[in-house]
Every structure is written in structure tokens, then in C-alpha cells.
Amino acid sequence: MLELFDGPVPTEELLVRWYQEEAGSNYGAYIPFIGTIRDEDGISGLSFDIYEPILESWFDAWQEKATEAGAILKMAHSRGDVPLHTSSYVAAVFSPKRKVALKMINDFVEDFKASAPIWKYDLRDGKRLYAADRSTPISGSGILGE
């Protein structure tokens, strides 16, 4: 399940709802990751653009991988502006045993950072500035420059 929100992700509501959704599914482990906007470098928050068609196919491929491991993934992300000390990203793995879930949340979040078509901007002095120095080219980038 992939959920997108305009503004901050409603973290408390989601964590409880996801827990309740899977309460009867016989998973032994529920491991969430919550990304919170930190106060650093004078920003007032972050902002995000998302290209949804490719985000959805990327997520669906991960969900298939999770299913093969007997697990499921849930993820939520923000669109637009997200103030300090609120959350822009919540992901979670449910699985029968904790070891699968712990490895999967790590691999999933790492690949999310490297591959999910989401662009981050710093909000500073009323401007929206692309976070170029923290961004990663998607695997296979650069062919048009050859």
C-alpha cells in the first residue's frame, strides 16, 4: 500500500491504522521507519515533488519482492511543503519473523533513497531550493549525455 499526502504524513494515525489493518494477519513483526524533518542549515522545512507513475511501479515491484518473502510493505510520503519536526516519509514492513522485516526495511529504505522518483527542496528565506548535493542519480542515468 502506497499513500501520498499533501503536506506532512499523519504519522500517529498511520502507525495505528496499519497496526490495526494487520492485527489479524498473523505477522510476528511490524517494523516502521519514520523520517522526520530536522532543524538544520537554517531551513524552515522541506518540500517534495513526486512523479507518481514510476513511484507506483517501483513500489509494486518491491511489494512483489516482499510477498515472496511472506511479508508486506506499507509506505506513505508527502507532496509539497513539510515543516520542521513533522514527518515526510513513513515505511513499514510486516513479516512472520523479525529478521526478514529488519533486513527488508533496511534494503527498502536504501533503494527508496536511490531510486524513488521524488525530488527534495530546502525551504529557506522564502525560497524553494533543489537539494542537488543530497540527491542521487537513478541507476542508468546519463545516457542522453553520451
Binding site: A132, G140, S141, G142
Partner: protein, 73 residues
Amino acid sequence: MVRVEFLGPIQKEALEVEASTLRDVAAALQSDAEVKDWLESCAVAVNDTLVKSLDTALKPGDKVSLLPPVCGG
């Protein structure tokens, strides 16, 4: 013609380009001063599927998207 779209921080309106492969799109964009500097770092999708070859065939109406470096979370 194929439609070329620029995603995220590339502030540019979509273009219509005459192209039978991605190589033709590359040639058109390399001569465009506004996007030239993005090409080295962008991934490319055709009809919302990422591709890795300039030989990728294109047909009229296809959508080519340029995806600059990402940073979710």
C-alpha cells in the same frame, strides 16, 4: 513526434521532438542550452518505464521523461 517531459527541478516546458530512437532525442537535447547540463545526471523513462539504451525505439505519441537525481524521505 514524441513528447519530452522534464521532471522535478528542471524548470522547462515539455517539448515535441521528431525521433525514432532515444538517440534522436539525445541529439535534440544536447543542442538545447537549457537542458544540456542536466543530461549527464538524468535517468530516462519511455512511457513511464525506465530505459538504459539510446537504441530504444520510439513511435509517434510516446512520452519520454527525464528524471534528475532523486532524494526522497
